[in-house]
C-alpha cells in the first residue's frame, strides 16, 4: 500500500462526546448508578450488553457497560464500581458535571435475534447484573416476544445486592421466575445461601427452549457451565460477557485480547460455542 491508496476517514473514533451527569443513586457501599445524558441531545443507540468508554477529563477513560434498556430514551444509566482511578474519579463527579462518552462498542445479547421467541434465562453474578439489567429491561418491556423468563442472581453477601426495588418487583411478577442466593448470609438474610449454580437445577429450565444470557466473574462461568451442561443446555444457547482491559474500544490498542479475539469488538458478549477452544476466555 502507498500513502495515496490509504483509506481515509474524517471520523475520529477516539473523540468523546460531551455528556452530563443527570443524577447519581448510591446502590451499595462501592457502586453508584449514574444517569448520564449526551449534551448533543442524541440517543446513544446501544444494544443490551454493549459498553461505552467514559472519560473523566484529566483522569482518563474506563469501559463501562450500559445498564439501561435501549427503550429508555432520556440518556443512559451506568453502574460504576469504585475500583480504579477513573471509576473513583467518576464517583466524585457531582450532578451537572461533565464526562465524555465514546461508543457504544462491541457485541450485544441477541435480544433482537435468536433470543426472540425463546425462554430466557438470565444468570447474573455480583456486578454482572449491571450489564444484564439492560437486557432484562428490554425483555420485560417486550415481554410478548419471549417465552418463559427466569432471572437467577447471586452475590457474595446481601450488602452487595444491586437494584433492591427491581429485585423485589421481579420476584412479585407472575411472568418472571426470580431466584437469588448469597454466598454468605448476614443476620437479616432469609433467602438462599450458597453459590449461584445451586439455583440452576431447580429453576425449571427447559434446555431445548432456553437461551441463557450470563454475566459474572470468570470463576462463575466455569461452574455455571458445568451446571448448564448437566441439564443439557447447548453451548450455542449460552451467551456470556467477558471483561478485559478495553482501552480503545475499536480493536487497535491490543489490551483486551483474549487469545485472538478482541473483547471490545468481537465481544464483550460471546456465544459460548465460539469461545470453547479459546484458552484465555474463561
Amino acid at each position: 500500500m502507498t500513502a495515496e491508496a490509504l483509506i481515509c476517514s474524517d471520523k475520529d473514533l477516539y473523540l468523546p462526546q460531551p455528556a452530563t451527569v443527570v443524577s447519581k443513586t448510591v446502590l451499595t457501599a462501592t457502586e453508584i448508578l449514574f444517569h448520564i445524558r449526551l449534551d448533543s441531545g442524541e440517543e446513544l443507540k446501544h444494544m443490551p450488553g454493549q459498553f461505552v468508554e467514559v472519560t473523566v477529563p484529566g483522569v482518563g477513560e474506563a469501559p463501562i457497560s450500559v445498564s439501561s434498556s435501549p427503550d429508555r430514551k432520556d440518556g443512559v444509566e451506568l453502574v460504576v464500581r469504585r475500583a480504579g482511578r477513573v471509576t473513583s474519579a467518576m464517583h466524585d463527579r457531582r450532578c451537572g458535571e461533565k464526562l465524555g462518552i465514546r461508543g457504544p462498542f462491541g457485541t450485544h445479547y441477541p435480544v433482537d435475534g435468536v433470543m426472540r421467541g425463546r425462554d430466557i434465562v438470565f444468570i447474573a453474578g455480583g456486578i454482572g447484573l449491571a450489564p444484564l439489567r439492560s437486557a432484562i429491561h428490554w425483555v420485560l418491556n417486550h415481554r410478548q416476544d419471549y417465552g418463559k423468563v427466569t432471572v437467577l442472581y447471586g452475590t457474595k453477601s446481601p450488602a452487595e445486592r444491586l437494584f433492591l426495588d427491581e429485585l423485589s418487583d421481579w420476584s412479585c411478577r407472575p411472568d418472571v421466575t426470580f431466584m437469588e442466593t448469597v454466598d454468605r448470609a448476614d443476620a437479616n438474610w432469609k433467602g438462599n445461601v450458597g453459590v449461584i449454580t445451586r439455583l440452576i437445577p431447580t429453576a425449571g429450565i427447559d434446555a431445548a427452549r432456553a437461551v441463557v444470557a450470563a454475566c459474572g466473574p470468570p470463576i462463575m462461568y466455569k461452574f455455571v457451565m458445568v451446571s448448564l451442561y448437566a441439564i443439557d443446555v447447548m453451548d450455542q444457547s449460552i451467551y456470556v460477557s467477558l471483561e478485559r482491559r478495553m482501552k480503545c474500544g475499536i480493536g487497535k490498542c491490543g489490551h483486551c485480547q483474549i487469545n485472538g479475539l478482541y473483547a471490545c469488538t468481537d465481544g464483550p458478549v460471546f456465544n459460548h460455542a465460539d469461545i470453547l477452544g479459546v484458552q484465555e476466555a474463561i
Binding site: T2, A3, E4, L6, I7, P57, K252
Partner: protein
C-alpha cells in the same frame, strides 16, 4: 516512471536538493550503530547501514502522540498531528512492516490519527547493502519488496538504480533534474542483487516457511519452550519496543499547568510488560511471564495473521539484538517448536 540511473555524485546532489525542499529523516551513524534522525546533509545519510536501533515506525506511530485536547469542563477537540516528511533509505523489511501497519490501522475501524500522519510521509526505500547479524528477512519474505514505497533505490556497483512508483515519488525524483533511463546491464545487476538478498538476509535460518507459522503455533500452545525461555524474561519490553510490527498502545490524560485543560496522549505499550492486561482491582489476565511471552508470539504469528492476513514479523532481528536474556529471537523460538513436531 521507468527506472533511472543515478551516479554517486548525482545521488549526493539529489539528496541535498530533497533536504532543501523537505524534512528528511534517514539512517545515520550513532556510536557503532545506526539510528533514524533528521538529516542535515547528504554526508550523514548512511545507506550502507545494516539495521537501525529503532525502526522508522517512530515517524508514523511516535512513542507518544497527542490524540485530543480537553478541558475539565468537558470540551474535547481532535488533534491530528503529522507533518510532511521523507523517510529516506528505508530497508525492504521496514517497508513491509509499514505496509502491515497501514493495513492494521485502516482495517475495520479507520484510525484517523495514523492515517493523517501516514498520508504526509513519502518513503524512499533502499535495498540492503550490508546485513545485520540477526537479520532473517529472507525467511519472512521481506528481503526485497515489490511495493509499499514511493521510490526504490538499489546500489549496483558505482551507480544507483532508482525507480519511482507514485506521484509523490515522481515529484521527489524531479528534484534530481533530468535522469537517464537505467540501462539493461544495471537492471540485470539489480535483478541479481535481489536474488542475492535472499541469501544475504538469512543470517538466522528459520527452518520452515512463513506460511507454516500460524499452523505451527496452533499446535504448540502447551509447548515446554514457552516456560523454559520465559523463565529468563525480565518483562522489560525491549523486544516489543524495537519491533517494527508491534502496534499496541496505551492512552493517558495529562492535565496542563492551568489545571483546567490538558491533552490525551497515546504511547507505545507492549504485551510483554507486566501491567499490559491488568485491570482495576488488580486482576491481571496475563499474570505469568510465560503467558505474556507466549502471547507475543501468538499475537504476531497467528492472531494478526488470522485477522489481517500477515505474520507480524518481518525478520529485522531487532528484538534478538535488544533482548538481554537472549530469548527474544523468533527464529530460535520457532525452530525449537519445530524440533518437537
Amino acid at each position: 516512471m521507468s527506472p533511472k540511473k543515478l551516479s554517486l555524485p548525482t545521488m549526493n546532489d539529489w539528496v541535498a536538493a530533497v533536504i532543501r525542499e523537505r524534512r528528511v529523516f534517514g539512517p545515520q551513524a550513532k556510536g557503532d550503530r545506526f539510528a533514524y534522525d533528521l538529516l542535515g546533509c547528504p554526508a550523514d545519510l548512511r545507506l550502507d547501514h545494516d539495521v537501525t536501533i529503532l525502526p522508522p515506525k517512530k515517524y508514523l506511530m511516535p512513542p507518544r502522540e497527542v490524540l485530543l485536547t480537553f478541558t475539565r469542563s468537558g470540551k474535547f477537540e481532535s488533534v491530528m498531528e503529522g507533518e510532511p516528511l521523507v523517510l529516506f533509505g528505508v530497508h525492504p523489511y521496514d517497508v513491509a512492516a509499514i505496509a502491515q501497519m497501514d493495513r492494521y490501522f485502516t482495517q475495520d475501524n479507520v484510525d484517523s490519527h495514523y492515517v493523517a500522519r501516514r498520508k504526509k510521509v513519502t518513503i524512499v526505500a533502499c535495498d540492503v547493502q550490508s546485513a545485520s547479524e540477526n537479520v532473517f528477512a529472507a525467511c519472512m519474505g521481506t528481503a526485497t519488496v515489490p511495493d509499499g514505497f514511493d521510490v526504490l533505490l538499489t546500489l549496483v556497483g558505482e551507480t544507483y538504480v532508482v525507480e519511482s512508483r507514485t506521484a509523490a515519488g515522481d515529484a521527489l525524483l524531479a528534484l534530481a533534474g533530468g535522469l537517464e533511463d537505467a540501462d539493461a546491464v544495471s537492471l540485470g545487476r539489480r535483478e541479481q542483487l535481489w536474488m542475492d538478498a535472499q541469501k544475504l538476509l538469512r543470517r538466522q535460518n528459520l527452518r520452515c516457511q512463513v506460511e507454516d507459522l500460524p499452523g505451527l503455533l496452533d499446535r504448540s500452545y502447551e509447548h515446554a519452550a514457552w516456560r523454559q525461555k520465559s523463565e529468563l524474561c525480565f518483562s522489560c519490553g525491549s523486544c516489543v519496543m524495537v519491533c517494527p510490527s508491534c502496534f499496541c498502545f496505551d492512552v493517558q490524560d495529562e492535565v496542563g499547568w492551568d489545571l483546567v485543560s490538558g491533552e490525551r496522549r497515546r504511547q507505545w505499550d507492549g504485551c510483554l510488560l507486566t501491567q499490559f492486561a491488568r485491570v482495576a482491582g488488580d486482576h491481571n489476565f496475563r499474570k505469568l511471564r510465560e503467558e505474556r511471552y507466549r502471547h507475543r508470539f501468538y499475537r504476531k504469528g497467528k492472531y494478526l495473521h488470522d485477522r489481517c492476513g500477515f505474520v507480524a514479523c518481518v525478520g529485522c532481528g531487532r528484538c534478538t539484538t535488544a533482548c538481554t536474556s537472549e530469548i527474544a529471537s523468533p527464529v530460535a523460538l520457532y525452530n525449537s517448536l519445530l524440533e518437537d513436531q
